[in-house]
């Protein structure tokens, strides 16, 4: 079972995407923890797509839509986000160092760090001009188990 939403690559669409995820999660009877994890990863990836892939400098050159897909198997949910922005593998971004003082606290890179923490697997590939990021959420596990991401070559 797979459901797909097409959204414009603007931050204004985050609310609509979030509502769509909530509706599906409710229909599928997903646990609260799983829904939270999916929402978190979806927000982080989508906002990254908008902020880094579809800026004013390239908006005329790229298809300004992204596809958000959710699919379900017996034991996991898969979230996929695809966009036609410039090639970018977010899994190559270093995780922020854990801070010991407030001055060391970094927000840059935090999104992908949270995605790795809250999903069980993260995969990136670039194909036919699309960035494609796929995250798996196991239904019977703690959503904060570390993921085993293995970035493919772009």
């Amino acid at each position: 079972m797979i459901e797909t939403l097409t959204a414009q690559c603007t931050l204004d669409e985050l609310g609509r995407v979030s509502t769509w995820v909530d509706t599906l999660a409710s229909q599928w009877g997903l646990p609260t923890q799983t829904t939270f994890a999916i929402q978190l990863c979806c927000e982080e990836v989508f906002s990254n797509i908008v902020r880094h892939g579809h800026t004013e400098s390239n908006v005329d050159q790229t298809d300004a839509t992204a596809q958000v897909s959710l699919s379900r198997s017996d034991d996991s949910i898969t979230l996929t986000l695809q966009d036609r922005g410039p090639a970018f593998n977010p899994l190559t971004v270093d995780a922020p160092a854990m801070p010991s003082t407030i001055g060391e606290m970094q927000i840059g890179g935090l999104g992908i760090h949270l995605i790795r923490k809250f999903s069980q697997d993260v995969q990136y590939h670039r194909r036919d001009g699309y960035n494609c990021l796929t995250m798996r959420f196991d239904l019977a596990r703690n959503p904060q188990a570390a993921s085993t991401q293995s970035p493919a070559m772009a």
């Binding site: 939270f36 927000e43 982080e44 906002s47 407030i102 001055g103 606290m105 935090l110 923490k117």
Partner: protein
């Protein structure tokens, strides 16, 4: 997202966040939260009614913590849900701004 502010005894500012701290929510309260933390020496950030927290929400909280701590003040988090606490822990902010699950221990920490 909403932000309600209460003044408690002993100069404690009770900052009550309500709703989803996603990107939109963070933007809605960013300025007021910054102002409130800028004038607080003891900031009790109540997360008990926060249903969601993402990186832009963390950014708002971090900037607030910097505001408070730059003036020699203290900030603590109160009663985040299990999921919100997991986000705070994953981000490493819980080692800098302690999490308390009851009001009494939070107030004690602010007065220590």
């Amino acid at each position: 997202m909403e932000l309600n502010i209460e003044n408690l005894p002993n100069d404690v500012s009770h900052l009550i966040l309500i709703g989803k701290m996603d990107l939109a929510g963070a933007q809605q309260i960013d300025i007021r939260f910054s102002a409130a933390t800028g004038s607080a020496r003891k900031a009790l950030v109540d997360l008990s009614q926060v249903s969601f927290l993402a990186s832009m929400g963390i950014r708002t909280l971090v900037l607030g913590a910097k505001n408070v701590q730059s003036k020699g003040g203290k900030m603590v988090f109160l009663k985040p849900s299990a999921e919100v606490a997991q986000v705070l822990t994953a981000a490493g902010i819980d080692t800098i701004v302690p999490i308390h699950q009851d009001l009494e221990s939070a107030l004690s920490a602010l007065s220590a």
